[in-house]
């Protein structure tokens, strides 16, 4: 949680230096969904994601050095600068692929889950999607197939109510999002996506069920994106949502919520959290330093990897 928050906030702060020359879709405010889910996933489990993937990547334990280097377009980045912020990956941490064509990654995740089922390796696949992703046809085709084949996959939907600047109410009829997945005959859950503990609990249930061979599970985590759709700023003033609405959600800050929950259970929590903060800040600082000192890819890199050998 804290790592995701600090990571995204640092990116936001340093973005204005204009040296991270690529789009960034930050997930400040949406830390609980990936943190809760990834806590429930085993290390060998795998995730797929989309354009807003940094939080997912960090929560799953992806290398900060590689991701930040990628933002700077460096040769040490996750895709050696070729993919940029929207194509995060870190195979060692089980972060298989992220792509920014909305919905495009869904069937790929399903196919990967099918392979794991064939191989009987017990790996659970989780694929992240947004509320708007549900509007793409390929998503429903993916649900249908995954359910038909009882594949070991979690469809993890972060409902933050917006597709860029368009509200859910202007895009979909008023009905529970989970109904869409339920129609394909899979277990569904809808949780408070600002409550990391709840997300964790539900994700654990999903993992258990999947590991028993019951097929896919759909989880909706209801949350809110604090900053602009793409970029480092706040944009509550441009007219697509109100400052009041944002403030309401800010009160439900997922990081504060978890902190409070911990304080109830452990009187030393505050001290421990402080230490975690310090440690993480240092880690992020080091990663930025590493990225800044890393070389850019040489021209020859442009002409590599078109075909596999």
């Amino acid at each position: 949680m804290i790592r995701v928050r600090e990571f995204e906030e640092t990116v936001a702060t340093r973005y204005s230096e204009q040296e991270m020359r690529c789009p960034v879709h930050l997930s400040v405010g949406q830390e609980a969904p990936p943190s809760g889910l990834c806590e429930a996933l085993a290390e060998k489990d795998q995730i797929f994601s989309h354009h807003r993937s940094h939080g997912h990547y960090v929560a799953k334990g992806g290398s900060l050095k590689k991701l930040i280097s990628e933002f700077y377009g460096k040769a040490t980045g996750c895709t050696r600068g070729v993919g940029g912020s929207m194509h995060a990956m870190d195979v060692d941490a089980g972060i298989i692929a992220c792509t920014p064509i909305v919905g495009g990654i869904m069937p790929v995740a399903v196919g990967s889950a099918m392979a794991h089922k064939y191989d009987g390796n017990g790996i659970v696949t989780a694929v992240f999607l947004g509320d708007a992703t549900l509007e793409e046809g390929v998503v429903h085709e993916s649900f249908n197939f995954a359910s038909l084949k009882k594949l070991p996959i979690i469809f993890f939907c972060e409902n933050n109510f917006f597709s860029v600047y368009t509200h859910l109410r202007d895009r979909q009829p008023d009905r529970p999002l989970v109904d869409l997945a339920a129609a394909h005959k899979m277990d569904v859950y809808s949780v408070d996506g600002n409550d990391a503990v709840e997300v964790f609990r539900v994700s654990q249930l999903a993992c258990e069920s999947i590991r028993k061979g019951n097929g896919p599970v759909f989880i909706e985590a209801i949350t809110y994106r604090w900053r602009e759709h793409c970029g480092p700023n706040y944009d509550n003033d441009i007219g697509y949502r109100t400052e009041e609405e944002f403030q309401e959600w800010k009160k439900k800050c997922p990081v504060e919520k978890l902190t409070k929950q911990l304080l109830l259970e452990d009187k030393d929590a505050e001290e421990k959290i402080k230490k975690i903060h310090t440690k993480i800040r240092k880690e992020i600082e080091d990663a930025f330093q590493f990225a800044l000192e890393s070389p850019f890819p040489a021209k020859e890199e442009l002409f590599k990897n078109l075909y596999a050998n």
Partner: protein, 363 residues
């Protein structure tokens, strides 16, 4: 079709020219409707929609769910019933989800029902470039659309082109793929007032010359123009043809020019292989081989996906120096070093991933 260049002109950005064109179309024909993701959001498709949503209301201009393929079919259906639909995509790459509806339905609608149905739709797609747009947000796939019989493919370069070609596209009875290069939206230029349309399937000579023919579309018109201006200094007078429409191709204008100059360079924003330049060069060699004094050259992006990092993107996109170099080579001109070096210096002084706003084009 009305083309009227004697009208009053005023400076307008490419984006504003599109607002004006859309407004005129909607004003003239109540059956024109427009939809697409974000058409009425605060950014208004990079400023190309203006206040039209307020002016025309939610039935005629509306935001949509994230469902490109279905929405394209919906446009086809509405067009079948007499509407003229304008569909917008903030990136061409997103429209790829609708290739089924575009290629299997829209393109063939008139033909496969023996001319009984028409499909007057305009699909606006924006070609991204720079600032880390990378492999899935910057594809320039005009060749794919131009390959499909039944589609018209338009690539305006100037603000005046944008306005005139847009109006013609909306008024056309066929599906038109309207490709806007993202960097051109900022560009300013003279735009005729009022109703103004430019014929589809016609190219324009934007600079006359007799040493070499430079054919280009969209953003590459500016790179060609810059090369042509530089080449003037050593007495090479390049003729620049602004394609405007990629398909159907205005072969006549190109052949006429090649017959005059004997040399041909074609610059395009797409990949080199199987692209628009390949088609043009092939047509020219088929039709006026004997007029050619040198082998034609194409200037295009490499046959690789676009990389994200600017460290690689700067080697990826062809620029005016590449065009000038090609011209010098085919003309056997050995003292043009300074020309290409100057161009390279200008290019290197710019960050390769943001538009060169200093060069706004003299036309």
């Amino acid at each position: 079709m009305q083309t009227n260049s004697s009208k009053t002109q005023r400076k307008l950005s490419y984006a504003k020219a599109l607002v004006e064109a859309t407004d005129i179309c909607m004003e003239r024909d109540p059956k024109v409707i427009m939809f697409g993701l974000g058409v009425n959001d605060p950014k208004r498709i990079f400023g190309t929609v203006g206040n039209l949503p307020e002016k025309y209301g939610k039935d005629r201009i509306f935001d949509v769910p994230l469902s490109e393929n279905a929405l394209t079919g919906i446009a086809v259906g509405a067009a079948t019933m007499g509407y003229r639909a304008i569909l917008t995509h903030q990136r061409l790459d997103f429209a790829l989800l609708s290739l089924d509806q575009i290629i299997n339905n829209a393109a063939k609608w008139h033909y496969m029902f023996a001319g009984q149905w028409k499909c007057p739709i305009v699909i606006r797609m924006i070609i991204g470039r720079g600032w880390g747009q990378g492999p899935q947000h910057s594809q320039s796939l005009q060749a794919i659309f131009a390959h499909i019989p039944g589609l018209k493919v338009v690539m305006p370069a100037t603000p005046a082109d944008a306005k005139g070609l847009f109006i013609a596209s909306v008024e056309d009875s066929n599906p038109v793929i309207f490709l806007e290069h993202r960097w051109l939206h900022y560009l300013e230029g003279e735009v005729p007032d009022g109703y103004y349309s430019l014929p589809l399937g016609k190219s324009q000579i934007s600079l006359e010359g007799n040493s070499v023919t430079l054919v280009a579309s969209s953003y590459m018109v500016y790179e060609s123009y810059r090369a042509a201006e530089a080449l003037k200094k050593i007495g090479i007078s390049a003729e620049v043809i602004n394609l405007q429409t990629v398909s159907p191709l205005d072969l006549e204008t190109i052949i006429k020019s090649v017959k005059k100059t004997g040399h041909l360079v074609v610059a395009d924003t797409g990949h080199a292989s199987f692209g628009v330049p390949a088609e043009i060069i092939s047509r020219v060699t088929e039709n006026c081989f004997s007029a050619l004094k040198s082998a034609p050259v194409r200037i295009a992006c490499p046959d690789y996906p676009a990389p994200t990092t600017f460290a690689l993107a700067k080697h990826y996109y062809p620029r005016s120096s590449d065009i000038a170099e090609a011209v010098l080579k085919i003309l056997g001109e050995s003292n043009g070093f300074e020309i290409t070096n100057n161009l390279k210096n200008i290019e290197q002084s710019l960050r390769p991933d943001v538009p060169d706003l200093k060069f706004t084009g003299p036309f």
